[in-house]
């Protein structure tokens, strides 16, 4: 392992330059695509209307009406300029931000073109995107907490589904907040099994995660068939859900207010957790220790950090996060438990973690992107040339593979993730 950490500095520089040029070429390609596909097929008199406020809320800003062709041309030129600058000088450490901007430009132009002559409710779409991103981002946080201490967690999905069921059952009997607490505890319990297997017994962490996934999917399905579907027990699965409410002052912000601050408890908790987790991981001594254990446990051990205990804490915190994410499904959106409700969101969370380079803020961005893809996929019928929703839903996975391969903006995880720690006897 050790010889892999030291990289040849010259090699690294070469690939950075290559990546810079490649990214620039990508931006140019996007510009060309918008120009030759979108602009060409748009009538010059066409108008697109973007509705900026979600349905049901009082409009604080008026709808945006613009000439489609002109807007598309502007975007294409802007994209080309960005691409040119990237090739010639490079944006340096801001390249990934610019990549994100390019992505947004592409989406906007796609929407403007697709809705040509019609109306797109951008506000509503974004609001739904945020709601949909909650479990994904929380799942990513679960992954971050585990991998930062050096334990790979592919059982996020399993922990989520447990949280969703437990949340619904406890929520039905003892109230919504009790449901949330129970879901978090259930996540912690599931995670402690993962922790025990992968830290104490040094079982392959992927296998341990697989065991938990198989077990939790089986158990929840078992409980649904055996208990929740029986008429006399059905009251155990009628939790209801947290209503959304306006956050005072914030909800009055034009455009952003109704989108970001007219949501339910889970969304606000997400905002708090992003800030909290970023500070704890990167600005506190404790977070540094956590990360040290995931990067180079031997060194951390030498400095007197208890590697095993830190790993247990990280994994169990991650499990709590996944349990909380799971409770979103039953207590935050649907109001009851359904077997298929998590539908692989735990794995998308894993993807968002990679996408966000193992940081809370990055994962939030990635999660929002995935949420937007989902929100868009349910709205595709309004577009001129409807692309199948399944194809759109494939995009996040493909992007994750591209990112992981390092073609655009390499993403590399903690060095010791997946490697059990053996304390060397003296």
């Amino acid at each position: 392992m050790a010889n892999q950490i030291q990289k040849d500095p010259i090699m690294k520089k070469d690939t950075t330059v290559l990546r810079q040029k490649f990214m620039g070429a990508l931006f140019l390609a996007i510009a060309a695509f918008i120009w030759f596909v979108f602009v060409r097929t748009t009538d010059s008199a066409m108008q697109t209307i973007f509705v900026m406020t979600p349905g049901g809320s009082i409009a604080t800003i008026s709808n945006l009406t613009f000439n489609t062709k002109f807007a598309l041309k502007t975007i294409a030129i802007l994209s080309a300029l960005l691409g040119g600058y990237q090739i010639v000088k490079g944006f340096g450490k801001y390249s990934n931000v610019i990549l994100g901007v390019e992505g947004i430009l592409l989406i906007i132009s796609f929407l403007a073109w697709g809705a040509g002559g019609g109306t797109v409710n951008i506000g509503g779409m974004l609001r739904v995107a945020i709601m949909r991103s909650v479990p994904v981002v929380l799942g990513a946080f679960s992954g971050i907490l585990c991998e930062r201490v050096g334990v790979v967690n592919i059982a996020i999905e399993g922990m989520m589904i447990t949280g969703a069921l437990v949340g619904s059952m406890f929520g039905s009997v003892f109230g919504l907040w009790a449901g949330v607490v129970a879901a978090i505890i259930s996540g912690a319990l599931t995670a402690s099994v993962h922790a025990m297997l992968s830290i104490k017994y040094k079982v392959n962490q992927i296998i341990s995660g697989t065991i938990i996934n198989i077990f939790t999917v089986g158990l929840t399905s078992y409980i649904v068939t055996k208990i929740l579907q029986v008429a006399e027990w059905q009251y155990l699965n009628q939790s209801g859900f947290f209503p959304s409410f306006d956050l005072p002052l914030f909800s009055k912000i034009p455009f952003f207010g109704p989108i970001f601050f007219r949501q339910n408890m889970f969304v606000y908790a997400l905002y708090i957790l992003v800030v909290l987790l970023s500070i704890v991981l990167f600005r506190t001594k404790w977070g540094l220790r956590l990360r040290a254990v995931g990067e180079y446990p031997k060194a951390a051990d030498t400095l007197g950090i208890n590697v095993f205990r830190t790993r247990y804490i990280g994994v169990i915190l991650g499990g709590m996060m996944a349990g909380f994410a799971g409770s979103y499904f039953s207590l935050g959106s649907l109001g009851y438990f359904e077997q298929v409700m998590t539908a692989g969101r735990g794995f998308i969370g894993l993807a968002a973690m990679i996408f966000g380079k193992w940081t809370p803020v990055g994962s939030l961005g990635a999660g929002l992107l995935f949420g937007f893809a989902e929100s868009l996929s349910t709205n595709l019928s309004i577009l001129r040339f409807p692309i199948p929703p399944e194809v759109l839903l494939m995009v996040p996975y493909i992007l994750t593979m591209v990112i992981l391969a390092g073609v655009v903006g390499r993403s590399q995880g903690p060095a010791a993730a997946g490697v059990p720690y053996e304390k060397e006897s003296l």
Binding site: V152, I154, L197, Y201, V203, N204, I206, I207, S208, T210, I211, I212, N213, I214, F215, V217, G218, L219, S221, Y222, I223, T225, K226, I227, G344, F347, I348, L350, A351, I354, P388, E390, V391, L393, M394, Y397, I398, T400, M401, L404, A405, G406
Partner: protein, 408 residues
């Protein structure tokens, strides 16, 4: 290296005997046993009648519990193997209909076993070469849908051409689905676990799209057309309820073939060496990136074949994409078999029989089928962490060979 160690017998039987004589077999049996006990406890704990019986008296409760466990597992047995006395009496009667109906559960279990053998061997092969193919499910999906495509698109071919053609199309699609993460791992170092998970979801969405879009049967929504009669795999019985098809024997053949490749050819030796120690293999002149790509592609091909065989032998058309779970259960199959292709047949049968028998169990006792997944999880839990089994049954720890080598 291993070839120099002299006339070490390496045929099936001696390997099987070796495996048995190792203490690991004890662990496997105890893991299965413990899993069954825990499953029984779960069944008891979730049955209201048991609580009522305990309310009457402790003895009643205990009796009810034991009765429930007995009924659960005996109906699981009857559902998977069939009724032994019926089987024997039907054999003596000589009536072919009676024999067929008596052996039906057993034969149907073999049908369920078939995809487990393919996917189990696929994952075992990956493990042997040091890659974790968690994407068998997606590869199976793609293999199935593309085999179906070949099954209905080509018309008027004789079965001798059509069946292999459709199988090949499915297998190659699976291979492609494995090749991509394999290539990415070899060339960019991207972890195959994440990539195969992503490929799974791409496969689910893609096949969903195909079923609702270009591959949709014009007359039945959300289904592909039925495959041509000429693409059907040979079935051994006239009766439509006895579905045992040639696929089972193809699976057996493939398992033996993979065993042969792994243990009898240089190629297989390189596979295993890379799996054991990629760095040492590299110094020995093997291309670990080539092996990784090959292993992932072959593993994908086998999973794709699982889907193709299911399609041509059992389903005949792809309906809306629902996860079959074969790809994930296969991880358990491979682990339980210690990644040995031949042992995979036996463990695949264990899971195939459990899965098929569970339907009868659900009807007889009301215990949901899902208890099988729970049993599987318990079993791999104990296989993966043998220390837990050793603690429970106070078994002695085997001598840690590696430790001794270190100090020497």
């Amino acid at each position: 290296m291993s070839k120099k160690t002299g006339p070490e017998k390496n045929d099936f039987l001696s390997i099987f005997i070796k495996e048995i004589s190792k203490s690991s077999l004890t662990i496997i049996l105890l893991a299965i046993f413990t899993g069954l006990i825990l499953g029984g406890i779960l069944a008891v704990a979730t049955t209201p009648e048991v609580y009522k019986a305990f309310g009457r008296s402790f003895g009643d409760g205990l009796g009810e519990s034991l009765k429930l466990i007995w009924e659960t597992y005996s109906s699981l047995f009857l559902g998977s193997f069939g009724n032994p006395s019926k089987m024997v009496s039907s054999l003596f009667s000589g009536d072919s209909k009676a024999i067929q109906s008596a052996f039906k559960p057993f034969l149907e279990s073999l049908v369920v076993t078939t995809p487990y053998i393919f996917t189990g061997v696929a994952i075992a092969l990956g493990f042997q070469a040091g890659v974790f193919n968690i994407g068998a499910e997606g590869q199976l999906f793609m293999g199935a849908i593309m085999a179906a495509w070949a099954g209905w698109t080509f018309k008027g071919l004789p079965p001798i051409v059509h069946v292999p053609l459709a199988l090949t199309v499915g297998t190659l699609t699976g291979a492609l689905w494995g090749y991509i993460p394999g290539w990415l791992k070899a060339k960019t170092g991207a972890h195959e676990v994440i990539n195969t998970i992503m490929m799974n979801y791409i496969a689910f969405n893609l096949s969903e799209y195909l079923i609702r879009g270009p591959f949709e049967d014009p007359t039945t929504p959300f289904k592909t057309p039925l495959i041509e009669q000429s693409a059907h795999l040979l079935r051994f019985f006239e009766s439509t309820s006895l579905r045992l098809h040639l696929g089972f024997f193809i699976a057996l053949g493939v398992a033996v073939l993979i065993w042969f490749i792994l243990y009898k050819t240089t190629w297989g030796f390189e596979f295993r060496s890379v799996g054991l120690n990629p760095h040492a293999s590299k110094y020995a002149g093997m291309s670990s990136s080539l092996i990784t790509i090959l292993a992932m592609s072959t593993s994908g091909a086998l999973s794709g074949m699982a889907g193709a065989v299911e399609m041509l032998g059992v389903n005949f058309r792809q309906t809306q994409a629902l996860s079959t779970g074969y790809g994930f259960d296969a991880i358990a199959v491979a682990l339980l078999a210690h990644n040995h292709p031949i042992l995979c047949i036996i463990t695949a049968m264990l899971f195939g029989f459990l899965r098929h028998g569970s339907r009868v169990m659900q009807i007889n006792t009301g215990i949901p089928i899902d208890i099988i997944s729970i049993l599987q999880a318990f079993i791999i839990f104990f296989i993966a962490a043998p220390a837990i089994i050793r603690t429970i049954y106070r078994l002695k720890e085997p001598k840690p060979i590696l430790e001794m080598e270190k100090t020497a």
